[in-house]
């Protein structure tokens, strides 16, 4: 494997880790208004992701940063081409990121309600628009001969990209509900509600993902370049998605969470396989001649070698201490008295 291929897959890895990790903390925040009936429950739900969301979010910055250094042309064209989409994502993340810290600073129900809305919208919008961005990677953008994207904001909404966004959003909700099953005390009413939510949103997610796959197959030629081998990945994604239902109904929480994680992993891998087998990182909808090629968009070997050293040292280290972080805060959360303020003294 040469360095361009390696870095293409490392970008896939950072995006995968981002969707897997922030997927569940987005999901928890989107489900919060549906699950929490009291202030204590509200706080318990925030508490399930409190020490993690920040570290999870950095994977988005890592994905963009790694893309910038190893595929500058891809990074520049995609990020300027989807300008309004990224503005929405950024504004959402801005408001959401501070909501955790700010919501408990002023003791007023209205103040808290405002920040709860911000973290709800701040998770809902990025989930949808990150999914839309992934769909756009497959579908392509109107890239012209100067590697610039033409067209306005409304052009990004196509049936395929909207279904992609919805599928991602619903999958995150399912993933978040599964995460809650691992993080909440099993004898609480919140836990019961989270299970019901997982079954309900999971069913919708399955429909949306199937629609996305069918549309990808029929209209986008998503799988045209797939040989027999790569087909294993979308099939695996389908299987893992289906088995979540089995995990939930037989009360195997760890299994269910593992399966929703794998569904996300296999879905992202499928998208990147589609790009890789075509050797195109961003198709042009104007003319195939303007497609951004995988090799032409990459940095030169010296930069890639340097990044390989850096990535080789730091990526395992980061993954290591993030796992430790999850281990330290592994105990389950319960929304009753005494425990909620324990983080602060």
């Amino acid at each position: 494997m040469d360095l361009i291929t390696l870095w293409f897959w490392l970008i896939a890895l950072t995006f995968t880790l981002y969707f897997f990790l922030e997927g569940f903390d987005f999901g928890v925040d989107i489900l919060r208004p549906f699950l929490a009936k009291t202030e204590a429950e509200e706080r318990a739900l925030v508490g399930t992701i409190g020490p993690f969301w920040d570290g999870n979010e950095v994977w988005a910055i890592a994905a963009a940063g790694v893309m910038f250094s190893t595929f500058p042309v891809w990074y520049g064209t995609l990020f300027s081409g989807l300008y309004p989409v990224f503005v929405i994502i950024l504004l959402s993340l801005l408001m959401r990121g501070v909501s955790f810290e700010y919501r408990n600073q002023v003791d007023q129900p209205r103040w808290r309600a405002f920040w709860d809305w911000m973290s709800f919208l701040g998770s809902l919008l990025p989930s949808f628009f990150w999914g839309l961005t992934m769909a756009k990677l497959i579908e392509g953008l109107p890239v012209n001969a100067e590697e610039r994207v033409v067209g306005g904001f409304l052009d990004v909404f196509t049936p395929f990209s909207v279904v992609g966004g919805l599928a991602t959003l619903l999958l995150f909700m399912l993933h978040g509900a599964n995460f809650l099953l691992l993080r909440l005390h099993t004898d609480t009413v919140l836990y019961t509600r989270a299970r019901a939510a997982a079954l309900f949103w999971g069913a919708l997610a399955t429909v949306a993902i199937l629609a996305f796959v069918v549309m990808g197959y029929v209209t986008e030629g998503l799988f045209n370049s797939f040989g027999v081998g790569p087909w294993l990945f979308p099939l695996a994604a389908g299987l893992t998605l289906g088995s979540i239902w089995f995990g939930l109904t037989t009360r195997r929480d760890v299994f269910a969470f593992l399966m929703s994680s794998l569904t996300i992993v296999f879905s992202i891998v499928t998208i990147f396989i589609a790009l890789y087998t075509r050797q195109i990182v961003l198709p042009s909808t104007l003319d195939a001649a303007f497609n951004l090629g995988l090799r032409e968009s990459a940095s030169q070997p010296y930069t890639l070698r340097l990044m390989t050293w850096v990535g080789g040292i730091f990526l395992p280290l980061i993954i290591g201490y993030q796992i430790w972080n999850y281990y330290v805060f592994r105990e389950r959360v319960r929304p009753d008295e005494g425990g909620l303020n324990k983080g602060y003294d």
Partner: protein
């Protein structure tokens, strides 16, 4: 500045950077101060409760600010691709590397260990918590290093080769040991320490004036003084050197900082106040102090420096026709405000150290000095903004000095989308900065024993009794 896509993009970049730096300069400095406080709390067992109260109090302020620093940082990174895609494509090979290094070496470290430090109070051994806050502090410095290194490269590109329409990296060690970047780093670092030190000083003074929690705040006042003295000296010396360096590697910026249109005499005077007439390329009014110009530029009372008019001719020969004179009034005045505030802060810090030495415990009761400290709180921030405006505007029209102009780097976005994006960002930024200041003020005023009714909730209560968490009882 014309309000076309280029103008809007520049305005957008400047506002994002300045808003981001408002939060980040405090984070970078305060992380270190808190790490030191926590270190003292760990090693001075007899005074542990005082110092852990102190770290909790300032740690709370730190967290309020940290969250906004993180989220504005995402905008900072994404905007290169969004607004400056041509720039990104041109220099991504080089500029992307320090940026990626920043994320991999620093951002993950900070965001993970800040959670472990704050929420791990009842779960981690004290020594692990101490290590966590030190890792956060180190992470913030690493982060500052790489981003300033990237910025320094734009001011003095080294270790590259232009092939076709892209700049390629040829020598990464040249990029890392770029002297310009190191000067900028020391300067930014010094000013970040100054921001944090004067915030700690001001808050400590506020409580000492009211004689609240004297035990805690008299000590934080002294820690603040040490950091303030170090920070101001670092900013002043590295800033002085950075200006001297600009004289030979960015002569146009240096001339603009001094509003020097024609080449100066030797010894050169220093302009203290000038009314600048940019359209006619001269100063309508100028108060000059003899010899000082040479002294500042060369550390000796002789030597001249080039003016903007001859430099303009020189640049035209070198880079082709165009206007290479930056917005002189902006550069000149921002530079002077920065230096003026820097001098005041330096005097304030060393005045405090002197009082401490002369009066010992009496420093807590020197009311005029404590009142003065309250006034100094915003000054380092203002000086920072002025400094960034000076150095970034002074570089115009270049984005990468001598290689790429700002207008060549901009994305081909439509006016409408950039405008709407800019308005959205401003609304959110203004709200965040207002909330940040409001919450910092409320929390700072409430003092040590104030507990917000519920802090950001971590994984609450380990509720299974006797499973090993008791052994990590907090020491105090």
């Amino acid at each position: 500045m014309d309000f076309d896509v280029l103008g809007l993009s520049r305005f957008q970049f400047a506002s994002t950077s300045i808003f981001h730096f408002f939060f980040v300069s405090l984070t970078v400095g305060l992380a270190f101060l808190i790490a030191v406080m926590e270190g003292i709390a760990y090693f001075r067992k007899d005074k542990a409760h005082i110092y852990s109260n102190m770290t909790n109090f300032f740690g709370h302020l730190f967290l309020i600010n940290f969250a906004v620093g993180v989220v504005t940082g995402i905008v900072q990174e994404f905007q290169f691709g969004m607004n400056w895609s041509q720039y990104s494509k041109f220099v991504g090979n080089i500029f992307g590397v320090p940026l990626a290094l920043e994320v991999l070496m620093a951002f993950f470290l900070e965001s993970t260990f800040i959670a472990l430090w704050w929420f791990g109070k009842d779960r981690l051994r004290p020594v692990v918590r101490l290590a966590s806050i030190w890792l956060v502090a180190i992470g913030t410095q690493i982060s500052a290093f790489w981003i300033v290194l990237a910025n320094g490269w734009m001011h003095r590109p080294v270790g590259y080769e232009v092939v076709g329409d892209q700049a390629f990296l040829t020598d990464f060690s040249a990029v890392v040991f770029n002297y310009k970047a190191w000067l900028y780093f020391l300067h930014v670092q010094g000013s970040a320490w100054t921001v944090a030190a004067f915030l700690v000083l001001g808050i400590s003074a506020y409580h000492l004036l009211r004689r609240q929690d004297v035990e805690v705040f008299s000590r934080s006042l002294r820690i603040g003084l040490v950091f303030g003295a170090i920070g101001t000296v670092f900013s002043a010396t590295s800033g002085h050197r950075a200006a001297q360096v600009a004289r030979y590697d960015q002569p146009m910026k240096f001339a603009a900082m001094e509003a020097q249109w024609e080449t100066s005499t030797s010894p050169a005077p220093w302009s203290a106040v000038a009314i600048i007439n940019e359209s006619e390329r001269r100063n309508d009014f100028n108060v000059e102090i003899p010899y000082l110009g040479s002294l500042l530029a060369y550390n000796r009372p002789v030597g001249n420096y080039e003016g903007m008019i001859p430099l303009q001719e020189q640049y035209e020969e070198q880079y082709g026709p165009g206007n290479y004179i930056p917005p002189v009034t902006w550069v000149y005045w921002n530079f002077r405000i920065m230096v003026g505030l820097g001098v005041i802060l330096l005097l304030a810090a060393f005045g405090g150290v002197y009082l401490w030495w002369r009066k010992r415990g009496g420093l807590n009761d020197t009311r005029w000095y404590l009142r003065l400290l309250l006034l100094t709180i915003p000054m380092p921030w203002i000086a920072n903004f002025c400094g960034w405006i000076t150095t970034e505007m002074g570089r115009q029209p270049f984005m990468v000095y001598g290689l790429l102009t700002t207008s060549q780097g901009v994305s081909a976005n439509s006016f409408g989308e950039v405008f709407v994006g800019l308005v959205g960002l401003w609304v959110v930024y203004l709200a965040l900065i207002g909330l940040d200041i409001y919450l910092l003020t409320v929390t700072a005023r409430a003092g040590v024993h104030h507990k917000p009714e519920a802090q950001m909730v971590a994984a609450p209560a380990p509720n299974y009794a006797g499973e090993g968490f008791q052994e990590y009882d907090r020491r105090n």
